[in-house]
Amino acid sequence: MDRSMFVSISYFLTHLGLIFFMYPTDIIASTDEAYWIPITLGIIIHFIFLSIYMKGLSYFPRKNIIMIYLSHGKIIAWIFLLPVAIYLIMIIIITIRSYSEIITIVFLSNTPLWAIMFLLVLVATYLSSRGLDSILRSSLLLAILFLPLTLFVCFVSFQNVDWRYIFPLTTNDFRFITKPSYLMSYFSIGGVFLFIGFIQPLFTYKPKKILYTVLLLVPFWIISVYIPILTFGNSTVPHFYFPFVEAVDSIDINWLMFDRVTVFFLLSLITFIILFLSLILWMFMQIITTCIPKFRPNYLLILISFISFVCCLFIPDWKDVEDLFLINSPFRFFCLLIVPPSLLILGIRSKRKEKLENG
């Protein structure tokens, strides 16, 4: 079954959810001027490695990455799947923890943190227990319900823009590449794309459409950083925790009965994050169930969700979340920079083998 549309929509939504919170903070912290350079670098890396990843996958029709690695021996499977699994479970914990924190900061200051984390875990678990088809399909419904709102807010966020803040456009300072905050920004660049490798045996998709989706995402990467810069100027912005949220908070629309547009914008993004969480949980479950096939997947899922919830409870404050982001970085870059080429190499090798065998 061709599910390109659903895959593209979930790809789009989950990225939107990731982009607008931490990404601008990290990019703005990594450099003082010409923000477009780190952004473009990130996008190019994303685009190139996504293409390599899909190219590599195309050598193995009707196989997901777990099957591909397993077909090349247990050692290879362990080498590649273990870091991926660690990355995924860390991402689950970090995302739940950090987004609950964001929710408390922005609009639920009286609700205890654990209650919000519990809600996020619960919904994500439910969604992922229903399987990939349900996740992809609900992404369509969520897009219909919440995407117009998100786009509307993106549009009106230009209200307070001062275009002079766009300068300087060039810089000779390329130190940002080594800065931890820049490495952390790859959370919203390399966060989701692994899931493309998990959909194969269940559904099919057209790689071209996914690449078009990435092109559609490009403006959002840029907007998320440049709206706060253009609104507040680059000397004020680094002081904010979530610059884009602050920028949206400054919007004033008289004819809307709501005072804070931010709340609805953030809430739409939270739904996309729930989608992201359920996808990641589902991917993690795919790996785990291949390793431990004896347990009933749903019990295992509940167990894993419970464990991640408990882990989240043990993270005391935002500083530790940032530390976790940093610890997570090597795994992230492993997924982003090593997994795609490895698939390509395995693909080319197996194709050669086939050719030799066929004479």
Partner: protein, 441 residues
């Protein structure tokens, strides 16, 4: 063969409407028997005499040439009696013949639909008799491509189920699966839609109906053209259309008689209705009790003012009003039509005026609840109406705990739930039934 007659007599020995009459035909003694409550006996006897009175032939010849249906087994006879046929037993030949009868008219005539409203379209609706229902469809839809498969299920009470589809349009996979499922479980008794759903292998606990039920033939025909499968069950005055889609909640067939902009207008209204009906009470709770800062200051103040003097939290207030309203809705269904209006009047006065002057609930809440109920009524289909009525409580409770976040998360939950519903692999969120790949007819 003589034993059969005795056995049949014992089967019906507790039935006082079972009759057994001796008579003569072709100067032969015959015995007629059946159920007098289903058969118009004098008319039927006349009919039999006319039909079998063929002077050229002897009775033996008439029977031998199968001009009448001869029963081979005892069970056939019992079934035939229950179906309202008359049995003609000729002791000399030891033959049982099942005869068509003039039955007592136990069916109501075809009338206007009572549970659904039709504007500018064919006004007939289904009745309890399965043959009449199929007949209505045939009359509206003259085509040789209509597939009708009749399957009987149940041991204690045999029930005829007709499976309808349109050749070249129908999803063959779906049709096949429903058919095999019904045939495999032919011993299941089907008394209601719940047992049918169970027989088809679905959970009866899903609040989203797997089928769309309608009593309007044009609706059925439109679904057949879209490739859906229609089940018509004996004694059910409505057709069940498989599968049911989310989009069916917003569309009826008769609005296709309107110009497209008007049709779209109505459908958009229904979408708004559904969103309002599910989210409004939750939004009230969230904005009043958890996230008042979201509202503009003036609006927030006026809401707070309207709640002045209300002694309990917003959640209790909302739940109380919603429950009272549900009670009114349910009561107006139960009551006879002559008392119904009194109830609405009393309810209106209590909810509209007294409850506010008594400061039990705020003004705003009355508006919210009224708006919710009205919006809820815009949705197509009574099952969808009930489903939305139930789903709004999920949102209200989540909203009371988590505020606006709860509403949004509740929406995600509902979306996820909808996305996971499917009928033999056809998702609830699909827009149309695809033709099966293997079928290119």
């Amino acid at each position: 063969m003589k034993i059969w007659l005795e056995e049949i007599k014992t089967v019906f020995k507790e039935c006082d409407d079972f009759f057994l009459q001796h008579d003569y035909l072709y100067n032969q003694p015959v015995i007629l028997f059946g159920l007098s409550t289903l058969i118009d006996i004098p008319q039927t006897k006349k009919l039999i005499e006319i039909n079998l009175n063929m002077p050229k032939y002897s009775l033996q010849e008439v029977i031998d040439h199968h001009l009448v249906k001869v029963a081979r087994e005892q069970n056939n006879i019992i079934d035939a009696i229950l179906e309202g046929k008359i049995i003609l037993y000729i002791p000399d030949f030891e033959k049982y013949m099942i005869m068509e009868v003039i039955s007592k008219s136990l069916n109501r005539s075809i009338e206007l639909p009572t549970n659904e409203n039709v504007i500018q379209d064919a006004l007939d609706s289904f009745i309890e008799d399965i043959d009449t229902n199929i007949g209505i469809i045939r009359k509206h839809f003259r085509t040789k491509f209509l597939i009708t498969k009749v399957i009987s299920t149940g041991i204690e009470q045999e029930k005829k189920i007709a499976l309808l589809g349109l050749e070249a349009h129908v999803n063959q996979n779906l049709m096949r699966k429903i058919e095999t499922q019904l045939k495999e479980k032919h011993d299941q008794e089907i008394h209601n839609a719940q047992s049918l759903v169970k027989t088809l292998g679905f959970s009866a606990w899903d609040i989203v109906p797997k089928y769309k039920s309608t009593e309007i033939p044009t609706e059925v025909i439109a679904s057949l053209k879209k490739g859906k499968v229609v089940l018509i069950i004996d004694d059910f005055p409505f057709a069940l259309i498989f599968p049911n889609f989310l989009w069916d909640m917003f569309t009826t067939e008769n609005e296709r008689n309107l110009p497209i902009p008007l049709m779209l207008f109505i459908r958009v209204l229904r979408v708004i209705g559904v969103i309002v009906a599910t989210l409004m009470p939750g939004l009230y709770v969230a904005l009043v009790s958890v996230n008042p800062e979201v509202l503009q200051l003036e609006l927030g103040l006026s809401i707070a003012q309207s709640r002045e003097g209300v002694p309990y939290p917003a959640l209790v207030e909302v739940l109380m009003m919603l429950v009272i309203l549900e009670l009114i809705l349910e009561a107006s269904v139960r009551l006879p039509k002559s008392i119904g209006p009194t109830l609405t009047m009393v309810g209106g006065i209590i909810l509209g005026q007294a409850i506010i002057s008594a400061k039990l609930v705020s003004n705003l809440l009355t508006i919210v609840v009224a708006g919710t109920t009205i919006a809820n009524a815009t949705v197509v289909g009574i099952q969808n109406h009930l489903m939305l009525r139930l789903l709004k409580y999920v949102i209200v409770i989540l909203a009371a705990i988590y505020g606006v976040l709860g509403i949004i998360v509740g929406t995600v939950l509902i979306c996820a739930y909808f996305a996971s519903i499917n009928v033999y692999g056809i998702s609830y969120l699909d827009y149309q039934v695809s033709k099966d790949e293997s079928n290119n007819g």
